[in-house]
Amino acid sequence: MSILLGRSPDRQPPGAAPAHTGSRTTRLLGGLALAGLVGLGLCAFVFSPADSRPGPEAGARIGQFDAVRLMYVHVPAAIWTYAALGACALASAVYLWHRGAWWDRLAHACAEIGVVLCAVTLLTGMIWGRPVWGTWWEWGDVRLVTTLVLFLAYAGYLALRSVPGAPEARARRSAVLGLGGAVLIPIVNRSVEWWENRTLHQQSTLEELRIEDLTLFTLVLGIFVMGAVVLWLAVHRFRVAWLEAEAESAGLQAALAERRAEAAAAEPGAGAGGSGP
C-alpha cells in the first residue's frame, strides 16, 4: 500500500493523502520503463528480423514481414489489458467484501489503464490486420468483437463512475460492474481456441512456443517493459484518484463549515452580524 500512497512516515501520518504523485520509487520505476522502451524500440525496429521464412515454392518467402513488429506492442498490450482489468475485478471484489475506499480507487485506476490498453490492442490489431489479413475489421470475427465488447464494457464502467452521486453508492455499483465485467476476460482470451473456425486470429504463439531467438526475446522484453509502464501509470493514477477524493472531501468540509457559520449568524442574537438594530 505504501508504494501506491507514496507516503513517507516522517513526512505524513499514516492514512493521509499523498502530497504529490511522484516518489523516489516511481521515479526509479519510470526511469526503468523509459530505458526499457528505448531498448524495446531498438530491438523491435533495428535488431530483430522481419518475419520471413522459405515458402513451399523455391525462392518464395512467406511470413508477416515488417508487420510482425506490431506484435511487440499488440501482444503485451493485450496481456496487460487482461491483467489490469483482472486487477480491477479483484479490487472490486475486495471492495464489496471490505468496503474500503482504497480498493475502490485501485479498481478505478486499473480500469482506466485497462481501457487504454484495450484501445491500443484494438488499434494495433487493426493496423496489423490490414496488410496481413487484407481487412481492417470483420464483424463476424469472434476475437475482434469480444475484445471490442470488453473495451465498451469497461468504458461504460468508467462512464458510470463519473455519474455524480453519493460516493458509497457509486463505489458499490462500480464494484458490481467491475467484477461482473471480468467474465469477459477468459472469453476474449480463449475465443481463438473455443471458436477456432470463427476467427481469423491466430492461436497463441507463446503457449505453443512457436517463436524463437531475437523475436522471442523482443516479445518477452515488450511484455516486461509494458508491465513497468502499466505499474508506473497505475501508481500515479491511484494517487491522483486519492488526491481527487481528498479535494472533494475538503471542498465539502469547507462548504459545510461555511453553511454552519451562516446558520449561526442567522440565529437571533448570535454574534454581531446576527444582531438587529
Binding site: R53, E57, V132, G140, V145, A155, V163, L200, I211, L256
Partner: protein, 195 residues
C-alpha cells in the same frame, strides 16, 4: 485501508442544515452536476448500445463461420448454390492469373488435411496471398469449367470449382525461421498436396 471518515453531508443534514447546492458555488471550469450526469449517462447508454450492436453483428454475421476445404468438398451437394466461407492453404505451383467477365482473377488450388479444391477468385488477392499461407475465401461452388481456363495447374479438376469474390489471409502462429517440421506440417495442412 478502510475509509475512516463518516459522511459529513449526512452529519450536516442531521444538524438541520440546508445542503442544497448553490449554483454560484460551482467551481470554474467544471460542468454542473446535472450536465455531468447527463453526459455520463449518455456515454453509458452509448457503451450499452455499442455492446448490443457488436453482439448482434457477431451472431448474425454467420458468413465468417468457415468450413475447412475438406469439409466443404465433403458437403458439396448440401452446399450447392449457397454462399459460404472456406479455408484452405494454396498449393505450391497452382496459382495462375486468369480473367472472369473481363475482370482480373486468379485460379489456384487450396487444400486442407490432404483434400484439395480448385478455386477461381475474382479481384485482387491480398498482398500476402501466396502458396503455403492459409486463406479464407467467400463464395459458392460452381459446376463446370471456369471461363478462359482449360484446366487448373496442379488442381483436382473434378468438374467443380469454388467461385470466390472475397479473400482474407489467415496467418498462422508460426514465427520460427528454422522450424524443422515446417514442410512436414505444411503437407499435413495440405500445402503440398495436389502437385
Amino acid at each position: 485501508m478502510a475509509e475512516t471518515r463518516g459522511d459529513p453531508a449526512a452529519a450536516a443534514a442531521g444538524d438541520g442544515l440546508d445542503l442544497s447546492p448553490r449554483r454560484s458555488e460551482a467551481r470554474p471550469g467544471r460542468r454542473p452536476p446535472t450536465v455531468r450526469r447527463v453526459v455520463s449517462l449518455l456515454v453509458v447508454a452509448g457503451a450499452v448500445a455499442g455492446i448490443a450492436f457488436a453482439l448482434v453483428r457477431l451472431v448474425t454475421d454467420a458468413s465468417l463461420f468457415f468450413l475447412n476445404a475438406d469439409e466443404a468438398v465433403e458437403r458439396r451437394d448440401e452446399l450447392a448454390g449457397q454462399r459460404f466461407r472456406m479455408q484452405g492453404t494454396p498449393v505450391a505451383h497452382s496459382v495462375a492469373e486468369t480473367r472472369v467477365d473481363f475482370e482480373q482473377a486468379v485460379a489456384f488450388t487450396v487444400a486442407f488435411e490432404g483434400v484439395a479444391a480448385d478455386v477461381v477468385h475474382t479481384g485482387s488477392p491480398p498482398d500476402l496471398f501466396t502458396p503455403g499461407v492459409p486463406v479464407v475465401l467467400e463464395g459458392r461452388w460452381v459446376q463446370g469449367q471456369p471461363p478462359d481456363l482449360d484446366s487448373f495447374a496442379c488442381g483436382v479438376n473434378d468438374g467443380y470449382y469454388f467461385a470466390s469474390d472475397h479473400m482474407l489471409v489467415k496467418h498462422d502462429n508460426e514465427y520460427r525461421d528454422t522450424y524443422p517440421d515446417r514442410l512436414e506440417a505444411a503437407g499435413a495442412g495440405g500445402a503440398s498436396a495436389g502437385c
